[in-house]
């Protein structure tokens, strides 16, 4: 039996019993959606449809409808891709890494964090496909046996590594997430009264009956998958960073990128988890499970990773100066003082300065402030990718090719569309899936809930 010091703050408040947890988790699924849900959903759906229209326009007319040019071959497309992949980092980190480190506070947030991961990776995956000039040939990046001749993919290309990294990550995250859902689906199934719902949840729960053998397998598989997923947390963004790090472009060709990108990804992932959960805990009344303590923990992660990112930025500047390479020096000077100085300073302000407020206990336990910072960090991390991609490309080696980038309505439309798509998925998830891993959460009711702590005081 796990023993926890009574002075540790409880992770479940309001003296929730096991049954209370079941009721709380099942309520959004069994009840009706309120008008806020509908308003948000319709808004997200509209954005999604608009984005889908923009994507269709792009695929039908050509990449020329974006703002790209001969010098800047990637801009919002890959910025959005990296941004979404980064966001998709928190889920696996929370569920896998924190599982291995036995951080019990993960239990009430891992389900939603993982859902967010999967939905974010889905958004991310759209960009590498649709940024292609001929997206209908996207399957050519897969090493498929073919009759085009002896054509094979180029294993030297970081884009190909991306294909493997992202698809592996998506698969493992999906399996891990789904596996965790099985006991919870079974719980919903057992409570379901409508025949249709019962049928669906029966299929989804894979015949889970809560036998000891089931639980034993569940635990074992959790550990195995956590073991598999943990290196992926590091590998995905490492490989994404190699798209840039292995190139010759000043500002891209940087060995610091892998750790810096991973830290940045966790940073942005946690910010997005904050953004979502702060709203969700309110809307579906999960304040007892997603407590201030959880928020504080996440804020600490944001503060630490934000500082790591800050150190990375400064290291980049130092190395540029120290390298003595004029192109490198100019690239970084140009970031900070060139035509895109505002993007650089937006990035610096949002990512390096703003998380420092979290040193103050008062601020990091303030829900309003946390929400504000989480948005700021998301904006900052988008700018980070924009800065890396666009400001490096727009002034590289030969000044004759230097130019600028300006997005078109299609660029903006597609980005907005992915945000819409993401929220469509997340809102549907919040109404049909158990948003808290209740089966697992119940394991700490006896050790870490306010109920148990109060009992031990008595």
């Amino acid at each position: 039996m796990h023993y926890e010091s009574p002075i540790r703050e409880p992770l479940i408040l309001e003296d929730k019993t096991l049954h209370d947890i079941t009721e709380d988790v099942a309520r959004p699924i069994e009840g009706k959606a309120n008008k806020w849900w509908w308003a948000l959903f319709l808004f997200a759906l509209a954005a999604f449809l608009w984005g889908a229209g923009c994507l269709a326009y792009t695929a039908g007319t050509g990449i020329g409808v974006w703002g790209l040019n001969k010098t800047i071959g990637w801009a919002w497309d890959i910025t959005n891709f990296v941004w979404w992949v980064g966001i998709g980092h928190a889920g696996t980190l929370i569920s896998a890494v924190l599982l291995l480190f036995r951080q019990k506070w993960r239990l009430s947030i891992n389900r939603s964090a993982e859902a967010m991961t999967i939905f974010a990776v889905v958004q991310a995956g759209l960009f590498p496909i649709f940024h292609m000039g001929r997206p209908w040939l996207a399957y050519w990046v897969l090493p498929l046996p073919n009759n085009f001749g002896s054509l094979w993919v180029n294993f030297n290309s970081p884009l190909l590594w991306d294909v493997f990294a992202i698809s592996t990550y998506l698969t493992v995250s999906l399996v891990f997430w789904y596996m965790g859902l099985i006991p919870d689906f079974a719980m919903i199934r057992d409570r379901a009264v409508k025949p249709m719902a019962k049928k669906i949840y029966t299929i989804l729960s894979f015949g889970w009956s809560g036998k000891a053998k089931h639980w034993q397998r569940f635990e074992e598989l959790s550990l195995v998958l956590a073991g598999l997923a943990t290196p992926l947390v590091l590998s995905v963004h490492t490989i994404v960073s190699m798209d840039f790090a292995t190139s010759v472009i000043p500002g891209w060709h940087t060995t610091i990128f892998p750790p810096y990108f991973v830290a940045g990804a966790i940073f942005s992932g946690f910010a997005m988890v904050q953004t979502l959960l702060l709203v969700m805990r309110k809307v579906v009344h999960m304040e007892a499970y997603i407590t201030i303590k959880h928020i504080e923990y996440m804020n600490i992660v944001i503060m630490v990773t934000g500082s790591i990112v800050g150190v990375a930025y400064i290291t980049e500047l130092f190395i540029a100066w120290y390298s003595g390479v004029e192109f490198e020096q100019y690239a970084f000077l140009n970031r900070a003082t060139g035509p895109y100085w505002w993007a650089y300073w937006a990035m610096m302000t949002c990512n390096v300065f703003s998380p420092q407020f979290m040193w103050s206990k008062k601020l990091r336990t303030s829900i309003g402030f946390t929400f504000f910072i989480s948005i700021v960090v998301n904006i900052g991390m988008w700018f980070e990718r924009f800065v890396i991609i666009v400001t490096s490309l727009h002034r590289d080696y030969l000044p004759s090719s230097w130019t600028m980038f300006s997005p078109t309505f299609v660029d903006i439309g597609i980005f907005v569309g992915t945000i819409g798509f993401f929220f469509v998925l997340f809102l549907l998830y919040a109404r049909t899936f158990p948003v808290i891993a209740q089966a697992e959460l119940k394991t700490i009711v006896k050790s870490s809930s306010s109920q148990s702590k109060n009992k031990s005081h008595e």
Binding site: T61, G62, I63, G64, G67, L68, N69, K70, T71, I72, G73, W74, P128, H131, M132, G133, R134, P135, L137, A138, W140, V141, L151, W152, V153, N154, N156, S157, P158, L159, L160, V163, D243, T246, S247, V248, I249, E326, F327, Q329, Y330, L333, N334, T337, P339, L393, H394, R395, D396, Y397, L398, P399, S400, S401, W402, T403, M404, F405, S406
Partner: protein, 1016 residues
């Protein structure tokens, strides 16, 4: 002996049954009873096929036919039933021909594929003339969809016979009424055409008036005064050790397109000696950009500067001096005078503009320098420009007075390119009969009675006598595409000489030109040289009045200098989209003309250029008024421009010429006065609130202190150490300093067959842009239009980077302790006009042997060849653009849209006529794929296959690319670097050879040769 066996098909045939024999010729054995069936009403009405059934059948067959039509359209290739002699599908034929349009002359070989001329190159048998970008692009004019397709009378279609009858009637009427018959043309160098005109003139008492849109009439007049003959000499830039040019853009549009290559021959630092070039000018011209010493001079002070030079030279020669005010450019003039005097007899002073006084003084200076008969040759004269401005003025007065009964415009568009164009248009209505030979609609054709469209020169017979003793033939390389007729044939038929100009030329040549040489030989060679010379001339006459007229300074006046661009020239080809999209070599601006204003003057006037968020350039707009004419023009701030002098390009503002040329820019001819393109007392007033959008292919103008991009040295330093400016770069490693190429993770490629290399001599490159157009023509490079260029999406596989020097350098920043940020900001600014230096650097795919693009493509669409080429497989490309991002030279071009068969890109690739110019050896790229320079792999394959068929090795110099062929200054040398006999091998071993961005160790197959300036 083979016998022809026949087989019988049945016993009847074997037995020679006569009945059977009869039946064999019939389709049906018995007569079909159609008559009986259809004739019998009763039977028909009994037939079970009702009207409804009929409709069902009809419906079914329509549906079936439409379904069948849903397949992809089938384009049929039809084999020749009778194959024309010499034509083998897939093989090109080359025909010798000549180009002369009243401005440029070139002797050509025309590449003909399946009956279509698609590419032009210089005829090696001829040394004269030069293929400029305009000549190169002229092949596209043939396929211009706005060409006139038949004769018209007052805008209505008509037949040749009707038109001829009416015109002859009109001509006779004019003659009998005692009114003038005038043939107005640009310069004509064709002797047979002149003979035709002579016969025409004698029949109708016609007057032949010649004028040139870019007139040098004043120069001819000055020569008449100085030498007694109204003639132009030939200039020998290849013999001149010192060249001093007063605003003569001799690499651009001054007299002869062949000057560039002659000049370049002396720009080689190994030439003995390399020439030194001084340029005194107001606009920054292509020639000025190449000069060793360029002095920006206010246009109205150029005369004083010239007279001062005269005095400086005269002092050395001991000749009499003339009075003139002190010139502000004494230091530079003194230096030029010293160099000129030292190179006496081997120097050359030339001047542009159309001012007789200037040319008179220039003649005197050249005479003092003993250049006559040496670098200036009157024995071999140039006939390329014969116009007489005074005649045009007379004509215009006669027309206004109603004295002209008939006017025929031949290769002339007076309504557009005369300053008095509007007057001319009005006077034209007083002419009873007006005819134009224009092959395309222009400003004049819309006003004349009859348009008798001429053939394109690629459809015509003809000849040329561009210089004394030099003759050339023009032969058709395609059947006339439309119902047009050669202008000469029209004149002949009106004169009653028939309409067979071919026979006329042939007879003329056999009688007057060819000695013992046969016609066929001459036609094959395209050129024929006789030993004929003109007499040499000596200068006489005084320069007093000329110097007096020039010795005026008016520092208050704002001067305007009209100039012509290498692409558009006098505007004749304004509807050629290749030329419109060819960036101006200096401003790198496409699809526009604009007022060039010096940075200092612009600041004073509060005129601005600014970059918008996508990097494109916007400029303020001014109302420019000269001599009562006002034009609204955009302002482009031009480094190197003389203070208080503004420049404006001719050849724009065309109306009704077609989809590419209409409404591009403004017509600056309207501002000229008496053919004079240098004007004083201009006034500018800023138009508030109006902004003009420019489309530039290069937006950043300086090298930002990255001196290793274009390596430079001076001649003195080069002679002391040939590696000067090109010192071996070393990178610090833990093993000590190493050459970049020694540090590598890569495996070397096998190089055992060929290794194609291209060497770019930065001394040879004048920046003229002929290679760019040649690349378009050979490789089907799409035209994307102004809006796309503005979005930095030009598709040029080969671009010419132009960099200005900056007054801020690393050394100066260190000395003056300028902060790094300020240093870079200052480096973005081009030097002051006085110290401005310009370099041109052609950049194409560098075909890196360690190519950054190749490793990053996920689908291996770009790969390396065993012959050192970087291949691009369009079919395999999925369009991630990673290769382009990772290209340090930014030479890859992406197909953002479908550029062919797309009416959004209405230039030439979307119409059947325009598509005829496409090279069938090169695929037209679809949207979504990357493309780039292939080093003309189709041309390499061709020569390799030829050699293989002949069972021999490739000869050195046999393999060429379109750009290396087009470059007549010898700046581009292509070949196999494994072949030690090849020129490119020698070039690659030159101490001047370097790789662009060598420190990246991409190991390009393209070499650059250090730029050496003759500065001391």
């Amino acid at each position: 002996m083979a016998t022809k066996k026949t087989y019988f098909q049945g016993l009847g045939e074997l037995a020679n049954n006569p009945e059977l024999e009869q039946l064999q010729h019939k389709e049906f054995a018995e007569k079909l009873p159609t008559e009986a069936f259809l004739g019998d009403e009763e039977k028909l009405s009994e037939s079970s096929t009702s009207r409804r059934d009929f409709l069902k059948f009809l419906g079914f067959s329509t549906a079936a036919a439409s379904l069948a039509a849903c397949e992809a359209p089938v384009q049929k290739v039809i084999p020749f039933v009778v194959k024309p002699e010499e034509t083998i599908a897939g093989n090109a034929n080359w025909y010798a021909s000549s180009f002369y349009d009243g401005n440029d002359y070139a002797s050509l070989l025309v590449k003909n594929r399946e009956g279509r001329p698609i590419f032009l190159k210089a005829n090696d048998l001829s040394k004269e003339g030069g293929i400029t970008a305009r000549v190169q692009a002229s092949v596209l004019n043939l396929y211009d969809s706005s060409r006139l397709k038949e004769p018209t009378a007052k805008g209505q279609k008509t037949s040749w016979r009707k038109a001829d009858r009416a015109i002859v009637k009109g001509l006779n009427a004019a003659k009998s009424s005692g009114k003038q018959v005038v043939l107005l043309s640009s310069s004509i160098v064709s002797p047979s055409t002149k003979a035709v005109i002579k016969e025409f003139a004698s029949k109708y008492g016609a007057k032949h008036v010649t004028y040139d849109a870019l007139s040098v009439s004043a120069m001819l007049d000055a020569n008449k005064e100085s030498f007694g003959v109204r003639a132009l000499p030939t200039y020998h830039f290849d013999k001149a050790d010192v060249v001093v040019s007063f605003a003569a853009d001799f690499i651009g549009d001054w007299l002869d397109s062949g000057h560039g290559k002659d000049y370049a021959a002396k720009r080689n630092p190994n030439a003995s000696p390399m020439s030194r070039h001084y340029q005194f000018e107001s606009n920054l011209s292509l020639t000025g950009a190449n000069a060793d010493y360029r002095t920006p001079v206010k246009a109205s002070e150029l005369g004083v500067a010239l007279v001062t030079l005269y005095n400086l030279v005269a002092k050395k020669a001991g000749a009499k001096l003339v009075n003139t005010p002190a010139s502000g450019y004494n230091t530079q003039l003194q230096k030029a005078a010293n160099d000129l005097w030292d190179a006496k007899g081997k120097s050359l002073v030339v001047a542009g503009g159309n001012d007789k006084n200037i040319h008179t003084v220039v003649n005197a200076i050249n005479d003092l320098l003993d250049n006559m008969g040496k670098t200036i040759d009157f024995k071999k004269r140039s006939y390329l420009k014969q116009g007489n401005d005074a005649d045009v003025a007379t004509l215009l007065n006669d027309m206004k007075a109603g004295k002209v009964g008939a006017l025929i415009a031949y290769n002339a568009n007076p309504v557009y390119n005369l300053a008095e164009g509007a007057d001319f248009a009005e006077a034209l209505s007083k002419v009873d009969l007006s005819v134009s030979f224009a092959s395309k609609n222009d400003e004049t054709t819309s006003l004349v009675d009859y348009v008798c469209p001429d053939h394109n020169y690629l459809e015509s017979w003809g000849d040329a006598n561009p210089y004394t003793g030099v003759y050339a033939l023009v032969q058709p390389t395609i059947n006339p595409l439309f119902n047009t007729r050669q202008a000469q044939a029209s004149l002949m038929s009106w004169t009653g000489l028939g309409d067979d100009f071919y026979s006329y030329v042939k007879t003329y040549w056999n009688r007057y030109v060819l000695g013992s040489t046969s016609w066929n030989t001459a036609l094959h060679d395209g050129v024929y040289t006789s030993k004929a010379t003109e007499r040499s001339l000596t200068r006489r006459g005084s320069i007093v009045s000329a110097t007096k007229a020039l010795s005026k300074l008016s520092s208050d006046s704002i001067d305007l200098v009209l100039y012509s661009k290498t692409g558009i020239g006098s505007g004749e080809y304004a509807n050629n989209p290749w030329l419109q999209e060819l960036p101006d070599p200096i401003s790198k601006t496409t699809w526009d003309n604009y007022l060039t204003v010096s940075p200092r003057f612009a600041k004073e006037l509060g005129l601005n250029n600014e970059y918008v968020s996508n990097g494109a350039l916007n400029g303020d707009v001014v109302d420019l008024t000269v001599g009562g004419t006002t034009l609204r023009v955009p302002v482009l701030i031009q480094p190197g421009q003389a203070y208080k002098t503004v420049g404006l390009a001719l050849g724009y503002g065309r109306q009704g010429v077609g989809k590419a040329g209409d409404g591009v820019g403004v017509n600056a001819f309207a501002l000229a006065s008496d053919f004079n393109t240098t004007l004083s007392n201009a006034s500018l007033s800023k138009v508030e609130g109006e902004v003009h959008e420019f489309a530039c292919t290069q937006l950043h103008h300086t090298m930002m202190g990255r001196d290793r991009i274009v390596k430079e040295t001076t001649l003195d330093a080069y002679q002391q150490d040939p590696r000067s400016g090109n010192e071996q770069m070393m990178l610090e490693t833990h093993k000590g300093p190493l050459e970049p190429e020694k540090i590598t993770l890569w495996e070397e490629h096998d190089r055992d067959v060929h290794w194609w290399n291209l060497s770019v001599d930065l001394n040879g490159c004048t920046g003229c842009g002929a290679c760019v157009i040649a690349c378009h023509a050979e490789n089907n490079v799409p035209v994307v239009g102004k809006e796309e260029i503005r979005r930095s999406r030009d598709m040029h596989w080969l671009r010419i980077d132009r960099y200005y020097s900056s007054d801020m350098t690393e050394e100066r920043a260190e000395e003056e302790e300028v902060s790094t940020i300020d240093k870079y900001l200052a480096m973005e600014v081009a030097s002051e006009a006085e110290s401005l230096e310009v370099v041109f650097q052609p950049v194409m795919c560098q075909h890196c042997n360690h190519a950054p693009c190749e490793t990053v493509c996920p689908v291996a669409a770009t790969t390396h060849s065993r012959e050192g080429l970087n291949h691009m497989t369009y079919n395999r490309c999925v369009g991630t653009r990673y290769c382009a991002n990772n290209c340090p030279y930014k030479v890859r071009r992406f197909n953002w849209f479908n550029y062919s068969e797309n009416d959004q890109f209405d230039f030439y690739m979307n119409d059947d006529l325009g598509k005829m110019v496409l090279n069938p050896d090169v695929v037209v790229r679809s949207r979504g794929v990357m493309e780039k320079c292939s080093m003309c792999i189709q041309m390499l394959q061709k020569v390799k296959l030829d050699a293989k068929k002949d069972g021999r090795k490739l000869r050195a110099g046999e393999a060429q690319t379109a750009c290396s062929i087009a470059c007549d200054t010898g700046a581009l040398t292509f070949g196999d670097v494994l072949d030690e006999k090849s020129e490119v091998y020698t070039e690659s071993k030159s101490p001047r050879a370097y790789h662009l961005l060598e420190e990246l160790n991409t190991q390009p197959s393209v070499w650059y040769q250090t730029k050496v300036r003759n500065k001391g």
